[in-house]
C-alpha cells in the first residue's frame, strides 16, 4: 500500500520536478546575471573602497598623494634624509649664503654652512682651514670628515653645493629613492676623468653639487688620508680630486640621468641645455661631459635636481617659478615611487661622449 502511494506520489512529482528544475535554473540564471551586472557597474566603487582602506603593503605602494594623509614628498622627506652643506666665507654670509638658506636650503633635512666664522642667521660649522680658493680641496676634506664624525646618523645622503647652486630637494629625494645609503655610490653631473690608469672613470662637477651615500661618506672619511689614493696637499680643484679619491677608494660614480637619459644635474643654467646653438661645439662642457651632451628643448629632465651659476636674484626667480607660481588649467598628475634597485643589479653606463 505504501509502495503504491509512493509510486503515485513519485509519478505526480516527476512532471512538476522537471518544471521546478527549469524554474530553478531560470531563477539561478537571473540571480547570477544580476550579480554580474551589479559587479560590473560597481567595480570602480569596489576599487575605491579597497584602496582607501590601508592595506599592509610594502613601501612601493601605488599613489598615495590624494588618498593618504601624507603627500609623497613628505613621505620621502622622512625616508630619504638629506644633509646639505655649502662652502662659504664670512664675506658672503649675508650677500649669498643667507639667500641659499631662505630659498632651497630650508628644504634639506639638515643644512650646514662650512665657513671660518659663526653667523647669527646661518647654521655654520667653523672649519680650521682658511677660506681661500687654493685650499678648497682641503676644506672639502675637512668638511666631509667633520660631517662623518658628527652628523653621520642624521642623514642618509650628503650633498655638497656652492652658494650659487640651486637644488630641488624633492627631486633629489626622488632620484635617490631607488638606491640604498649602504651602497658606496655618489651622484652629480658626470665629467670625464682623464688619467693614465683611470679609464672610463668619471668625477662630478662641484658647482652643480654632488651627493654621497652614507657608506661612501664613511669610506671617504676613513680613507682620504691614504696618500696612494688621495691627494694629501690642499690645493687643486676639489671636484676633480674628490672624483679621483673616490674612484681610487672604490666608490661608484652613479648615473644621475632620468629614465629617458636626460640630465638632472647641470653645471650651468637651464637655457644652455635647452637652446641648441646658444654655444658652439667648442663649449667646454661638451668636451668634458661624460655622456653625450645634446642640447634641445626636451633635453633636461622634468625632475631636475640642480643648476649652477645661479645669482642671488635668480635664486629667488627659481624659487618663485618652481615653488610659488601657479599655472591655470594644470591637471594633477599621478606620481608613483620608483622601484628599488638592488646593488647587484646596478648598471652604470660607460662614457659615450666622443667630443674632444
Amino acid at each position: 500500500m505504501d509502495g503504491q502511494y509512493i509510486t503515485l506520489g513519485f509519478e505526480r512529482e516527476r512532471p512538476s520536478a522537471r518544471r521546478s528544475s527549469t524554474k530553478r535554473a531560470v531563477l539561478l540564471f537571473l540571480l547570477v546575471g544580476s550579480l554580474l551586472i551589479t559587479l560590473f557597474a560597481y567595480w570602480d566603487v569596489l576599487m575605491i573602497t579597497a584602496s582607501a582602506v590601508p592595506l599592509a603593503r610594502g613601501i612601493d605602494s601605488i599613489d598615495q598623494t590624494a588618498l593618504g594623509n601624507e603627500t609623497l614628498a613628505e613621505k620621502l622627506h622622512r625616508e630619504v634624509r638629506i644633509l646639505c652643506w655649502v662652502l662659504t666665507t664670512p664675506k658672503y654670509h649675508k650677500a649669498r649664503a643667507v639667500h641659499v638658506l631662505r630659498t632651497w636650503g630650508r628644504r634639506c633635512n639638515k643644512i650646514y654652512f662650512m665657513t671660518s666664522e659663526p653667523d647669527d642667521e646661518l647654521p655654520t660649522v667653523v672649519l680650521t682651514k682658511p677660506d681661500e680658493y687654493e685650499v678648497l680641496w682641503g676644506k672639502t676634506k675637512e668638511a666631509f670628515t667633520y660631517i662623518h664624525e658628527h652628523f653621520a646618523d642624521e642623514a642618509d645622503w650628503f650633498i655638497k653645493a656652492d652658494d650659487d647652486t640651486y637644488v630641488f630637494l624633492e627631486n633629489l629625494r626622488y632620484m635617490l629613492y631607488p638606491y640604498s645609503p649602504s651602497t658606496p655610490i655618489y651622484f652629480g653631473f658626470n665629467y670625464k676623468l682623464i688619467g693614465s690608469q683611470l679609464k672610463n672613470a668619471s668625477y662630478m662637477s662641484g658647482g652643480s653639487g654632488y651627493v654621497l651615500s652614507r657608506e661612501a661618506l664613511r669610506i671617504f672619511a676613513e680613507g682620504h688620508n691614504d696618500s696612494t689614493k688621495c691627494r694629501q696637499e690642499d690645493n687643486s680643484a676639489e671636484d676633480l680630486e674628490m672624483g679621483k679619491c673616490l674612484f681610487n677608494l672604490g666608490v661608484k660614480a652613479g648615473d644621475s640621468r632620468d629614465g629617458q637619459f636626460r640630465n638632472r644635474f647641470y653645471p650651468v643654467g637651464p637655457f644652455e641645455s635647452l637652446l641648441s646653438g646658444y654655444t658652439g661645439m667648442d663649449f667646454w662642457l661638451y668636451k668634458y661631459a661624460f655622456y653625450q651632451p645634446r642640447s634641445c628643448m626636451d633635453c633636461l629632465s622634468e625632475y631636475p635636481v640642480s643648476f649652477h651659476y645661479v645669482s642671488n636674484e635668480e635664486l629667488y626667480v627659481f624659487e618663485y617659478f618652481n615653488y610659488q607660481f601657479q599655472l591655470s588649467g594644470q591637471r594633477p598628475m599621478v606620481e608613483r615611487l620608483p622601484e628599488r634597485i638592488r646593488e647587484e643589479d646596478l648598471v652604470i653606463p660607460e662614457s659615450d661622449n666622443t667630443v674632444t
Partner: protein
C-alpha cells in the same frame, strides 16, 4: 496523508509556487531598476558639471619684431610661448621662413606701427578671437593665466589691460614694454571709431608716447583701463624682468626705472612691485632667459608635491572622479 516532500519543493511544485516565484522575480527586477536609475542619476550629475563650464576665452597674440631681431629674439617666442595662444601673428618689417610675419614697411614711428598693426588684425583676424594681446619679442607671457584672468570679463565689454601707468595730467595708459590686452569690443571701437576720427585719435607721429596716445584714444571712445592686479593687489603685468621684481629692487638712477616710478598708476612700496602667483607678462632682460621661464612654467615638476591651488580635499575628489569614470 503525511507530506513526504519539503515545503521548498512544495513552493515550486505546489500551489503557492507562482506567488513566491513571482515575488523573487519582482524583487530582482526591482533591484535591477534601482541600480539602473542610480547609474543614470550619476551620469546626469557629472554631465551637469561639464555643461556649466563656459568655453575659455580665445586669445590672439600679436608679437612685434624687427628683421634684425628675428633670429635673436622673435624666434625664441615662436618656439616657446606663442603657440600657447589660440592664434598668433608676428608683425615685422621683413619676411622670415619660420615666423611668416605680416610685413609693414616704412613705418618709422611706433604709434604709426601700432595703428597699422591693430587695424590689420581687426580686418583679417577679428573673428578668430575674443581678446587681443599686443606684445613684443622680449616679453614672456603665460597665456593660460591670461585666460584665467579674462574668464571673469566678457569680450563685449569695452576694457583693456596691461601694466597701468598715468601721466601727471591724469591720463591713464599702459606700459608699452609689457603686454597690452584689448577686448574684441575695444579693438572694434578703436579701429572703427577712434582711428577714423582725427579729433578723437591723432594720426601723427608720437615717438616714445605711442602707448600714451593709445590710452588717450581708447579713453576718448569710453574703453576702460582694467585692473590687472590679482585679489591680493599683486601685479600680473610686470614692467621689468622677473629677476628684478623677485630678487632685487628698482633704482631711481636708472632711467627706465625712474620713468616707471614716476608714472605708475598703483603705489609702489619699497621700490618694488609684489608679483602675483598667477603672473601673466613681463619683460625679459635677455632673449635666452625665456627658455628658463618656459621650462620652469611648463616642464619642471617637484616630485610628490600636489599642485598649490588645489587643496587636498579637491585633489582627492578629482582622483576619485577619475576612478568613477
Amino acid at each position: 496523508m503525511p507530506r513526504l516532500f519539503s515545503s521548498q519543493h512544495r513552493c515550486l511544485g505546489g500551489r503557492n509556487r507562482f506567488t513566491l516565484c513571482r515575488a523573487i522575480s519582482l524583487l530582482l527586477l526591482g533591484t535591477l531598476c534601482f541600480f539602473t536609475v542610480l547609474q543614470v542619476h550619476r551620469n546626469l550629475q557629472t554631465e551637469e558639471v561639464a555643461v556649466s563650464a563656459a568655453p575659455p576665452p580665445r586669445i590672439f597674440c600679436i608679437i612685434t619684431t624687427f628683421a634684425y631681431l628675428h633670429k635673436y629674439a622673435a624666434m625664441h617666442i615662436h618656439r616657446t610661448w606663442a603657440p600657447h595662444c589660440d592664434h598668433y601673428l608676428f608683425v615685422s618689417d621683413d619676411v622670415d621662413h619660420y615666423l611668416e610675419p605680416a610685413v609693414f614697411m616704412n613705418l618709422h614711428d611706433k604709434w604709426q606701427r601700432m595703428r597699422a598693426h591693430l587695424e590689420y588684425v581687426y580686418k583679417y583676424h577679428f573673428h578668430e578671437a575674443d581678446w587681443f594681446l599686443y606684445a613684443n619679442d622680449n616679453n614672456f607671457v603665460v597665456v593660460e593665466n591670461l585666460r584665467y584672468m579674462l574668464k571673469s570679463y566678457s569680450p563685449d565689454e569695452l576694457i583693456y589691460f596691461g601694466c597701468k601707468l598715468r601721466t601727471p595730467n591724469g591720463l591713464v595708459f599702459m606700459h608699452g614694454g609689457s603686454g597690452i590686452v584689448l577686448s574684441a569690443a575695444a579693438l572694434k571701437r578703436f579701429t572703427l571709431d577712434a582711428m577714423t576720427n582725427e579729433s578723437i585719435c591723432s594720426s601723427k607721429d608720437k615717438g616714445d608716447e605711442a602707448t600714451e596716445e593709445l590710452g588717450r584714444c581708447l579713453t576718448n571712445v569710453n574703453v576702460i583701463p582694467g585692473n590687472s592686479r590679482d585679489e591680493w593687489q599683486r601685479h600680473r603685468f610686470l614692467p621689468f624682468d622677473p629677476a628684478l621684481h623677485l630678487g632685487g629692487r628698482m633704482n631711481e638712477s636708472i632711467e627706465v626705472h625712474k620713468y616707471f616710478l614716476d608714472h605708475s598708476y598703483y603705489p609702489v612700496t619699497d621700490m618694488n612691485l609684489p608679483v602675483s602667483l598667477r603672473f601673466i607678462c613681463s619683460l625679459t632682460s635677455t632673449p635666452s632667459i625665456i627658455y628658463n621661464y618656459y621650462y620652469f612654467t611648463y616642464k619642471v615638476r617637484r616630485f610628490g608635491v600636489p599642485l598649490n591651488f588645489e587643496s587636498g580635499e579637491i585633489q582627492r575628489k578629482i582622483v576619485a572622479q577619475k576612478y568613477m569614470k
